[in-house]
Each structure stands twice: as structure tokens, then as C-alpha cells.
């Protein structure tokens, strides 16, 4: 059986600097995988190559058995790859529910100009019901009508999760979800994510700095350093690996670039 996400031999360089050096990563359906590494290790570059924001110099990305290397960002999203952002990206001047509504509408692809003109483009009751279901699941029911400018960062991140969920993803890419959150908020976020995941059954690929969060949240992890995969395996073992410890804490010369 093939994995849900298969990235094979991803290579990317920026003006001669090798950001990713033949990286292979697999994510199976329903599993939770971490991708860790010090600053500048190439995590975000890898992420962008999977999402199609960057084109890798060589290598193949397969999703659900299909080669998606040539697809554009929004086409990959439609294949079932959802994501959140490190620095939250929400739609200004919209309420929380509107974020989910537009995602729901896009998933069905039923928006047409003539429907808008005939007044059929307004939110339908069944759409609103589906959005509210997800909002309840995330604990955002009380702020459904609030404009996103009035949310806390933690709530904003949950809105991103909810928006991604409305596209019915098979894989959710989380880009440093704990950044900007304190310990308690991080723990709450992890609990909510776990709850939603067990209900919806999607896979998660987590890029994260917070080793503690990764240790508690993921089963398996990959470790990148200077664009090269230096370790992979069950998260707890990986984190004990002396090479990994050196990459993170080790000699000053290799520290954060």
C-alpha cells in the first residue's frame, strides 16, 4: 500500500544555496507526523514544495496515488491538502463563519456568475449548518458572528483549522501552530486538534519548533538539518538521537543559520 503523501527526492536550491537535498517524506492516511529541525533547516521550503508555492528543482510529490508535482497551489488544495499558517492569514473584514462558508462553497465549486445575479449566491441554510457543526467542534460556536479582527491569536489559529477542515482535507499541514501561543494555549490547541482528528480521520504533517509539543503530539518524526534528512523514526527515539541533539543544541558552529 502506498502512503497518502509521498515526497521523493525533493531538491531545491536558492542561488546556489542548497535548501533541500534529496528529501524523502511519507505520510500515511490518518497518521500524525512531525517535521522538525533547527532554523534554516529547510522545513518551510519543504512545506512550500509540497503545497506548490515553490517548485522543487527535482523530485516528485505524489498525493493519494497521484503525481501532483505539476499542479498549482489551489489545485493541490482541491486534491485534499489543507494547511494553516505560521503567521495567521485570515480574510480581513469577514466574520468567523464567513471564513468557513467560503471554503465550503469553494469545495463544492457551485459558485456561478448567473447564480449570484439571481440572488442564489447567498449562504444556504445547509451550508451554514455544516459550518456551525465544525465551529462547535472547535469550540468557536460563540464567536461565529464575530469579525476576525476581534479574536485572540489562539482562536485565529483555530479559525484557520476550521477553514481548512471545510475543504474536507485528507492531509492537514500545520506550520508552527504553537508560534505566538503560551503553554496553556498550546496544550488546548493540541487537545482540540487531537479531538477533531479522531472525529474526521485526516492525517497531519506538523512543522514545529516546540520539541515538547512534537513529542506529545506526533507518532513519527523526520528531522532536517541544512536541507538534509538526518534522522527519522518514532518521535521519542528520534529526539534521543545524538545526531539530532547535536543539530539542535550542539556545537555553536552549526547553530541556527
Amino acid at each position: 500500500m502506498t502512503a497518502l503523501l509521498e515526497a521523493r527526492g525533493i531538491r531545491k536550491s536558492f542561488a546556489g544555496v542548497m535548501a533541500l537535498h534529496f528529501v524523502d517524506i511519507d505520510v500515511d492516511a490518518g497518521e500524525t507526523v512531525g517535521l522538525i529541525g533547527p532554523n534554516g533547516a529547510g522545513k518551510t521550503t519543504f512545506f512550500n514544495c509540497v503545497l506548490g508555492i515553490l517548485r522543487s528543482d527535482s523530485g516528485v510529490v505524489r498525493f493519494d496515488g497521484r503525481d501532483i508535482s505539476g499542479l498549482r497551489v489551489h489545485e493541490r488544495a482541491r486534491c485534499g491538502i489543507g494547511r494553516t499558517f505560521q503567521r495567521i492569514e485570515l480574510f480581513a473584514e469577514s466574520t468567523v463563519r464567513e471564513h468557513l462558508l467560503i471554503a465550503e462553497r469553494t469545495r463544492h465549486g457551485t459558485g456561478r456568475l448567473w447564480k449570484d445575479l439571481l440572488g442564489m449566491g447567498r449562504p444556504h441554510n445547509d451550508e451554514i449548518a455544516r459550518c456551525d457543526e465544525v465551529l462547535e467542534l472547535l469550540g468557536l460556536g460563540a464567536v461565529a458572528e464575530a469579525p476576525i479582527e476581534h479574536l485572540s491569536l489562539g482562536q485565529g489559529r483555530l479559525v484557520e483549522v476550521g477553514r481548512a477542515l471545510m475543504t474536507d482535507p485528507k492531509l492537514l499541514l500545520l506550520d508552527e501552530p504553537s508560534s505566538g501561543l503560551d503553554r496553556k494555549e498550546t496544550a488546548d490547541l493540541a487537545a482540540t486538534l487531537r479531538k477533531v482528528q479522531s472525529e474526521k480521520g485526516f492525517a497531519i504533517l506538523l512543522v514545529e519548533h516546540d520539541v515538547e509539543f512534537v513529542a506529545g503530539f506526533t507518532e513519527r518524526s523526520y528531522v532536517l538539518d541544512f536541507g538534509t534528512m538526518i534522522a527519522q523514526g518514532p518521535t521519542r527515539e528520534v529526539l534521543r538521537d545524538p545526531i539530532v541533539r547535536e543539530a539542535y543544541l550542539g556545537v555553536p558552529a552549526t547553530e541556527g543559520t
Binding site: 503545497l51 508555492i53 515553490l54 498549482r72 497551489v73 489551489h74 489545485e75 488544495a77 482541491r78 489543507g82 494547511r83 499558517f85 505560521q86 503567521r87 492569514e89 485570515l90 480574510f91 480581513a92 473584514e93 469577514s94 466574520t95 464567513e98 462558508l101 467560503i102 471554503a103 462553497r105 469553494t106 469545495r107 457551485t110 459558485g111 456561478r112 456568475l113 447564480k115 449570484d116 445575479l117 439571481l118 440572488g119 442564489m120 449566491g121 447567498r122 464567536v143 458572528e145 464575530a146 469579525p147 479582527e149 476581534h150 484557520e160 477553514r163 481548512a164 471545510m166 475543504t167
Partner: protein
Amino acid sequence: MTLATGVGADFLRALLQGTPPGTVYALVALGFVLTYKTSGVFNLAFGAQAYVSAAMYYKAHTEWGWSIIPALVLSVFVLAPAIGLTLERLVFRYLRTGTSVAKLVVTIGISLALPNIFELITNFKGVVGQTPAGIVPNGSGVFYDPFGVYPFSRDELTTIGVAVIAMLCLAALFRFTAIGLQMRAVVESPRMTELNGIRSDRVSAVSWALSSTFAGLAGVLIAPRFNTLAAPDFFNLVVVAIAAAILGRLVSLPRALAGGLGLGMVIALLGTFLPRWVDSNPWLRPFQENLTPAVPFVVLFGVLVLWPAIRRSREVSDPLSGVDPPISSLALATRSARSHLIGRVFTVGVLGTVATIVYFRADASWMFLVTQAVIMATIYLSVTMITGLAGQISLCQGTFAAIGGFGVYQLATLHGMSVLVAAPIAAVIAAAVGAVLSLPVLRLGGIWTAVATLAFAFFFDAVAIKFSWVGGGNTSLMQGTRVPRPVLGPWDFADDRAFLVLAVVVFIIVSIVVVQIRGGTIGRTLRAIRGSEVAAQSIGISPARARVVAFAVSAAIAALGGALLSIHQKNVNYGSNFSPVSSLFWLVLVVSLGARTIEGAALAGAAFSIFDPLILRGTIFGWILRSPKRVPGFFPISPKWRLILFGLGTLQFARHPEGAVEFWRGRTSRWLAARQQSAPPAPDEPTESIGVDGAVTS
């Protein structure tokens, strides 16, 4: 005459001929890139700055009789840097966190306001039918022919010399001075420079002064090439400069220089060789006659379509973007349902009263103005569509409107179709043109849309309308582009009153279309893209597709309005209605009053048509004081104030993109809400959204 003949000599002659304008284009391109890189401002006001210096030189030298040197010093080395510094200090320093599109809109406003401010202060009236003097005596009368191929006039040689000196000075400044080094650093990475303790506002001020001087110099040097001295000619200069600068991806100074020079030569080469093909391909004639606007357009679109690297330049991300402050939230709709309703009723009531008075009491001239206002409001809904909803700046709405007008002219007058059928067909044609036009710039968005549409507007203005299947060719020269008024059943729209009703009906229908789109899938999709393009893509939205739709709908609305305007005036009147400069003014008007709302478009329509006669000529005071004789003596105010006022009105766009109307309405309702809170609470106030009022008033 030279003795050399043959293709080789022609080629050489064209290259030499293209050198003087090429060096001026290079100057403008350099100045343009300089401000863009050091302050992120895509300065479309560059042409206006060049015009002001050229006009100042003319005023001092020709009208006041100053000798050349003091006139040159005043116009280029005093006035030009002063304008640059003023703009930097009073305007752009406060817009640093604004988006590049917001800054672009502000520069458009300035480019309309600046020439008028200058003309008001110095009482300068544009020069027509006289070639402005150059900066050497008898510049256009003495010739030198160093290569025996092309005789340079004294003006041309001076142009080359001065431009080369200016560029050498710039190079020396960059190379040998501290401020030059800092400027280079800012060009490389503004943020890193600032983190290293260099005051980037000082660098920015210097580069504004410098680029403004370049603009002024270019203006004075290029002026003798025109046989008039008027602001629109100089606006075209900006388009040429952008085309030159784009070859260096808007960031490379050497490439901008090469681009400017190259463009000058290409224009001259085509000017030499194109006539040989025109005889066998007559459709080339409009190109040949208008190379200066046509070539930049072709270059610009060629680059956008054929050079994928320009698109990839967006991939360059700032490594420190994570530490950016969050974008300030917009003034939200904080109105309660009741005040919303009161506002609506009030608006409808006022409009109804005005409509009734106009319908029954107005004389022919007021009827004309009010009808025009309603039609302009319809056209402005196209700006609401593309700028308000899609967040894109289109500078060719006038061109789309012209397509509507010419479409009706062609279909109705030349092919005998009913006007009422022709107008929708023209709208569909414009929609197709808009969609095709938007294709190369779709993935770029932002300033590129503005640039591409601006180039298209000038191209249409110079070349396209000369084709007989567009502007009617020789027929229209003899008879004008006449358009009949329609008759529909019992209604004869030749009657002005009936036509006013028709205009109002069309406006209402188009308003409903815009409101439906805004509330429907497309409006929500566009709002998502405007909010965050990456996030919109992450849920499967294709920004390109949504923008094509927005562009096409906007073009169709503009064309419908343009058709209506032409029917109203019984003639297309391209020059006075739809020129590229009028597109700019439309955008400025709608943006400063409110690009997001129907009311904004309606007010902009009124402002376009009625502001001048009602306010500036003081008529309204005559009505209030019940006698035209008691109107204060300072009326009539110069109509230039309209351009100045609304041009400067764009300044608030960066911080309040919803426009003046929404802004003041928000203020008022917040003030009312605050008063209500100090008074005993009103029972069961229905609110539109939970938690909004509390957050605003707390």
C-alpha cells in the same frame, strides 16, 4: 541631406535619431526605479512632476524673460527637489506600511492634483501650438552632423550631454559618497539597513529629491519635442519609463538605463522601417503614426507574457516577514440594523426628492447634468466592482466605456441595429476584451494590473481608435461618431426626461447586479483573495479565475455606461469623455468618495457632473441666499479645484480604503453608539453582529 544611402545607413540613422529621446527615457526610468526601490512607491506622479518643471522653465524663460541658467536652476534644481521632498515628508512617510497598491493610488491622485496646483499658483495656462524652448539658445535651428548620417539639432546634443552628465553624477554619488552607499544598501534590503541603524527616512528623502530632480530634468529636456506644453503628454512619458524600467524588473538601475535607451532606438528604428511595410499592410498605419505610445505597450505586454522570470520575482520573500506588525484592521461596519435602516430611508428619500424636482422643474441644462451624473454613477459601479470588490486598480475604465460607445456607434449607426440591442452587445465585447487583457497580469495582480491597464489605455487612445472598425476612420472625421436615441414602444428616448428615467433604471439594475455579486459567491471569493491570497489558495480558490470574472464584469459595466453616455450625448465624444486621463480622474473620484459602496459610486457620479456648476460656480449659494446677486465675490472658483480636491482625497486611501463616505458614516455611528451608552440603554437594540459594538466602545 546625407550622401549615405541603403539599409545600413538607415539603420545607423535611426539609432542616432533614437538616442536623444532614449537618454531622456533612461533618465525618467532611473528616477522611477530610484523611488520605487527606496520607498516602495510606484510613482505614477512622475509625469506630473516632469510637467511642472517643464512648465516652470517655460514660465520663467519664455514668459518672464529670465535667461536660461536661472530659469533652469529654479525649475530643475530648486522646484523639482522641493516637490520631491514635500511629497516624501508630507505624504509618503506616513504611508510606509501601506500596500504598494495604496501608494500607487495616492500617486495617481497627486498626478492629477499637482499640475493644477502649479497652474493655479503661477497662473500658468497650457501652451498650445508653440514648441517650448530648449535649454540652449536657438536649439532647434542649428544642426551638427558628426557621422554624416543624421544631423543632430543643438537641442538633441544638449539632451544627450546633460543626460549623460546626470547619470555620471548619479553613478559617482552611489560610488563615492556615504549617502550613496546607504541608498544602495536600502535598495538591497530596506529592512536590514534599518536594523543596522541607518535612518532610512533620510535616505528616502534624499532619493525622493534626487528622483524628482531627474523627473524635472527629463521634463525640461523632452519639452521641445512636443509642440504643446500640457500635462497629459507627460503622463505618456511615465508609461515609456515603466516599459523601460520593467526590463530591469523595476529594480535594476543599469538595466533601466539600457531599457530607456533601447526603447528610444526601437521607436526610431520602427519609425524608419515601418513605412516600407505600411503600403502593403495598411493596418499598420495607426501603429506607424503613433509609435511612442504603441511601442511601450507592446514591450510591456511582451515582457509580461513572454518573460516568466518577471512573475517569479514575487517568490522573493523577505526573511524577516515574520516580525512584521500585523496589518491594521479596517474600520468595520459597526452600524446597528436600525441606524442602517434609517440611513437607507434617508438616502432614498433625498434621492427621491431630488429626482422629482429635477424631473418636473429642471431646465434643459440641469436635466443634462443630472442625467450625466446618473450615467457616470453607472460607469463608476465598474470601479466599485474591480477596485472595491476585487482590490485591483484598473486605469482603463475609460477605454472600456469607449468600447461601449464605439460599439453602439458601429452596430447602431453603421449596421442599423437598435441601440438598445447594440449596447448589451457592446458590453459583452468589452467583457471579452477585459478578460483577455487581464490574462497576462492575473497572477501578478497589484501594481502590474495598474501598469498593464494604463498602457492599454494609452495604446487604445493612440492606435486602436484610428482603426475604422473601432473609431470609424474617415467616416467619423467627416460626420462625427453619431449615435441615435432609441425608441421603445410608447417611449421615445429622444425626450430628455424619458432618457433620464432610462438612465436611472439602468443605474438601479447595475446596482442590483453589483450588490448581488458582492453578497454572492464571487464577492465572497474576491473578498477572501483580497484578505489573503495565500490563504484563499490554500482552500482551493483560484485567484486568476476570480479576477478574470471581476475584470470582465467590470468592463461590461463600464461599456454599458459608456454606451449610455454616448447615446445621451448623441455622439461618442471620445476625447472629452473617455481619454486615459479621464480614467485616472474617475478612479481618483470613486476611491476618494468610496469604492466599496453603491452610495460611493452614486456620489462620485454627482461629484463628476454637478460639483462644478453647483459648488464651484456658487449656484447653490445663490439658491440658499435666494438671489444670484448675493453670491460672494470669490465665486466662480476655478474648476481646477475639483481635480486638486479629489486628487488629494486619495491620500486617505492607504488608511481608510473604504472611502470618505463610509469613513464618516462609521465615525458618526460610533459617536452615536457612545452617546447611547452613556444614556440609559435602549431596550432590545437589534445589532447586526455580536460583540462588535462592545469592542468598539470599550
